[in-house]
Amino acid sequence: MNKWAISLLLSVLTASVQAEVVFVTLEKDNALALVDPVDGKLIKTVEIGQRPRGIAISPDYKVLYIATSDDNTIKMVDTETLKEIGVLPSGDDPETFALNPKGDRLYVSNEDDSRVTVIDIAMKKAIKQIQVGVEPEGITVSPDNRWIISASETTNMLHWIDAKTNNIVENTLVDPRPRAVTFTADSKFAWATSEMAGSLMIVDAKTKQVTKRIGFEIQGVTKDKIQPVGVVIDKESKRAYVALGPANRVAVINAQTYEVEKYLLVGQRVWNLAFSPDQKRLYTTNGVSNDISIIDLNSQTVTKSIAVGNYPWGVAVKP
């Protein structure tokens, strides 16, 4: 084989290895779907455990953390081999969890027990359980690693947990059934969605008060169908994106003026969102239509929807 052919072969190989992969948990298939977002194709589906929901990827993109709710564990999976490399003690029925920026701590919502479990990843041990409000769901860690916010759906509160002490130091009463919460890149504001009030609240991390409330109005969609769930904000805090559940749309919000700029029609019961690592694309899981939608953020259009399997729940991306 001549040199030219070898280098071509190598470049093909590296290209295929380096291509971006979108990982999607399939709640009802007990499986993980792998999607190539550039080609817009489902690569494959692998079995992963009972009722997989929450998913996160380590900062070095080497490890996937997947909550297999009915196994009562969080699995650690190698992103290359897709082999299980460890199990974390998550407490009962783990659903959503958050990884800290360093990637050495994991905070898990235990919905049935009204608590948050703090896991030391290196030790693979639960180091603390924090009592929070009823049915904790959304959870996030601020990029400066100062705060963990746990949102409890029935208590309607954001609990501010100090990352150093793992104690609740403040509580913010928010609109009914808060679902997801995320911080701006500068850690100054937390954005939280309320499923029942159909609103998005912006909370000042200094005062812990709601400083702004954003509502949504879509022509031809009744108010009770607008149920905000997942929310993400880009690195420059230019735009935020909110999944509106059974309204089947993602709202595009100007993160500076707080204006809703646009609604993008995606699949049914759009739930969780994730950016591509270069933030050129946004991926959505659509629970009822069993697909994911790909949004091109440059043109702000939905470019593709890809059938992945039953009940796509969480999404994580590897460059």
């Binding site: 919905e111 049935d112 027990d113 009204s114 608590r115 359980q129 924090i130 009592q131 409000g133 009823v134 049915e135 409890s152 759906e153 029935t154 208590t155 309607n156 509160m157 104690n167 609740i168 130091v169 403040e170 509580n171 009463l173 609109d175 009914p176 059934r177 499923e195 029942m196 009030a197 159909g198 009744t222 108010k223 009770d224 169908k225 149920q227 059974p246």
Partner: protein, 400 residues
């Protein structure tokens, strides 16, 4: 298994509770108390068709207890404490006396699990003027129309809401020809009225209507009886049954003269809550209730849960324990109650009925949730179920 697991957990909760009390700056002096009474009367057990389902005597109260726990978890952070006092009147006792002597002037919020007439008797008492009743038992359309009371909120869907839910589903399935079978009880006639109203609303055709008469003839069996009873002249798509007490309805399925599905109070039923319901976080409350009660959640439990949670939600939002702001909030557009049905629940200001989706359930599977997709309404699709504002006969002359 459960009980051995519970003890250390309770210890942990108590321990953590004190941690929260000690560490939370919001949780301190000057707590506001919201006192809630739960009023019910023991009922004489009615005859049952089979011994498959255990008789449950405490329907309702455990739902209220679970909600009090949820309210108080929130209350820890908002300086509010919720208390629940139970008033369980014996079969021979007098509910009015209990209300006048023990509840009046002491409680502003009373969850009532009482039959329809007694619910209004209590609502009409002079002492009930400054009280808000949360009715978690009745399904009567009369109590939401001509016999409505301004001081009584209704948590469970009315018969009309249930019948409309069934009709929407049958319309979707194009089961337009109904054979209506009605039991002998007064409640069955009321349910049949609601079904007839729904049939008219959704353009369904009741091809025949028959009343099931109970007889004690030993030569007759369900097997032969139902076949003969359902041998009617006209063809029909579906047998719609109104038998609220379950005196005969379970006999119908698989025994009809021609093979037809059974829907109504048996077969596919319309209900506010069901053990097969697990969407929209329902699994969580099903688990929490079962852990507490050792049984599945019944409709009255769900109603009582919602009643106490509604009080909690209004008290938290208004930061008040007083009747006026809380009642105003409950009946306002802002009120949005999470009821594990995927859409916020609220009260219809024209008849105090809680608007909510209605579940259509078979014994072991949830078949559909009404409003069924495609039934539209300018304000909220939930108002396609039951009496909408233009149709209401409720005038707020009583209970004010």
């Amino acid at each position: 298994m459960r009980s051995t697991k519970m003890l250390p957990r309770i210890g942990l909760i108590v321990f953590i509770f004190f941690q929260i009390v000690a560490s939370n700056p919001l949780f301190a002096k000057g707590k506001q108390t919201i006192k809630i009474a739960y009023l019910t009367q023991m009922q004489k057990a009615r005859p049952v068709l089979s011994n498959l389902d255990p008789i449950i005597e405490n329907k309702g109260v455990l739902g209220a207890e679970l909600a009090i726990e949820d309210n108080n978890t929130t209350g820890q952070y908002t300086k509010q404490q919720f208390t629940l006092e139970r008033f369980i009147v014996p079969v021979e006792g007098n509910v009015t006396d209990t209300f006048n002597k023990k509840i009046a002037k002491k409680y502003a919020y009373v969850v009532t699990n009482l039959p329809p007439e007694l619910t209004n008797t209590v609502a009409d008492l002079a002492e009930a003027k400054d009280v808000l009743l949360f009715d978690v038992a009745t399904v009567d359309d009369a109590l939401r129309n001509k016999e409505c009371r301004a001081n009584a909120l209704h948590l469970l869907p009315s018969r009309a809401m249930r019948a409309d839910a069934l009709a929407q589903y049958m319309m979707k399935k194009r089961w337009t020809k109904w054979f209506l079978v009605i039991g002998a009880a007064a409640e069955d006639k009321l349910y049949a009225e609601a079904l007839k109203r729904a049939a008219k609303r959704f353009g369904m055709n009741i091809v025949q209507e028959k009343t099931w008469e109970h007889s004690f003839d030993a030569r007759r069996t369900a097997q032969s009886d139902v076949a003969v009873f359902t041998q009617i002249d006209d063809d029909y798509d579906v047998l719609v049954v109104a038998d609220e007490q379950g005196q005969f309805g379970e006999y119908l399925d698989y025994r009809t003269w021609i093979p037809r599905p059974v829907i109504g109070t048996q077969g596919l039923v319309a209900t506010s809550w069901h053990k097969t319901h697990e969407q929209w976080g329902a699994t969580q409350i099903q688990n929490r209730f079962k852990e507490k009660a050792g049984r599945w959640m019944e409709e009255q439990d769900y109603g009582a849960y919602l009643a106490v949670r509604a009080i909690g939600e209004a008290a938290t939002r208004t930061q008040s324990n007083e009747l006026k702001p809380i009642k105003d909030y409950l009946l306002s557009d802002q009120f949005a109650l999470q009821g594990y049905k995927g859409t916020p629940l609220s009260f219809r200001p024209w008849d105090n009925q809680l608007r909510q989706p209605v579940l259509l359930a078979a014994p072991r599977s949830l078949v559909a949730v009404a409003p069924i997709e495609g039934f539209l309404h300018p304000k909220t699709e939930l108002d396609t179920l039951g009496y909408d504002q233009p149709e209401t006969e409720c005038q707020w002359s009583k209970g004010k």
